[in-house]
Symmetry: C2
Subunit: 193 residues, 2 copies
């Protein structure tokens, strides 16, 4: 069994997609949010999954927050960390210790609309501002940079006339994110990458 | 009839795609290459289309080359200029005088792998080096920048395991470039944009 931790900040629709996929050989051991009110924590609890809030606000120094998160992953014997809409930068130490064992979902076709400042709705605002006709999502390994790690899967999504950032965000989730994130986890669990 | 000029530097497979599409309301009035040996010129002549070589090498100064090209387009009453694998920078004056009447095909999903230094095979080399799983092609209006103009059409193409830059280049041509370039010309001819 590949024990995974899913790190979230919001509603947790990507977490739901992973739960629904029921990936053979994978156990969602732990869900961690930096936001105590994240609905993702409720989803996890309702499904009988251990759900914790670990927030920078709970610690005097950022460093202590990073240490607590890393310690929690180790205590729970986590083999793969999945960032699923997690809006907190992870520490360099965690990247080192979990090298090639942290993946992230990004709501664009990297290298378009990625890097510092491109997260959440801002990605889709930028795509619409540039007038692209095709966007998509990317699952990639996390390295020291922002969205610079090796790409695992990508899926294209059509931009349609009249799209708002919100409408486009939802289409990218439904048609790409919710599909390729579970697929990437399954590939890792199967030793496919 | 929308009289178009197709500017080319090489084999002219995109020119062939435009010819084969037989777009209603569009006449390929003129094919111009900077390269006297471009096979595209032979394709044009074989199809009974006026084919000219206008090369910087024929002129003492770059400025005179630019003037000759622009004069040629005007003499032939060209309404739309199609850059189809044209490897020469066009002049600012031409961009101004043919504002929103010059289109270009680029072998990536802009804004990925575009701008100065990204042309021809280099685009596909960069895409493979970054490890993207999805690439594609873009038709866009030409403005003062490099690949910065408004996007007309884009089409995604899958990158496959074992792809070389040459294999990927061919797939992007077949699955994307040869389709969206004639489509974009048809949209302009129909007043769709």
């Amino acid at each position: 069994m590949l024990k995974i931790a899913v790190l979230v900040s919001g509603g947790g629709t990507n977490l739901q997609a992973i739960m629904d996929a029921n990936i053979p050989g994978v156990k969602i051991e732990l869900v961690v949010s930096n936001n105590a009110n994240a609905y993702a924590l409720t989803r996890a609890k309702n499904a009988g999954i251990k759900a914790l809030c670990i927030s920078p606000k709970q610690y005097e120094r950022r460093e202590l927050f990073h240490e607590a998160l890393l310690a929690c992953l180790k205590e729970n014997d986590i083999a793969l960390v999945v960032l699923a809409g997690y809006l907190v930068n992870i520490s360099e130490q965690m990247v080192r210790e979990y090298k090639n064992r942290i993946i992230n979902i990004h709501p664009s076709l990297i290298p378009s609309f990625c890097g510092k400042g491109y997260y959440g709705l801002k990605v889709h605002e930028a795509a619409l501002a540039r007038g692209v006709k095709v966007t998509g999502a990317t699952v990639h390994f996390v390295d020291e940079g922002t969205d610079t790690g090796p790409i695992i899967l990508q899926k294209a999504v059509e931009v349609k006339a009249g799209d708002t950032p919100e409408i486009l965000q939802r289409r990218v989730m439904e048609e790409a994110e919710w599909k390729i994130l579970p697929q990437a986890i399954a590939m890792i669990a199967n030793g496919g990458i």
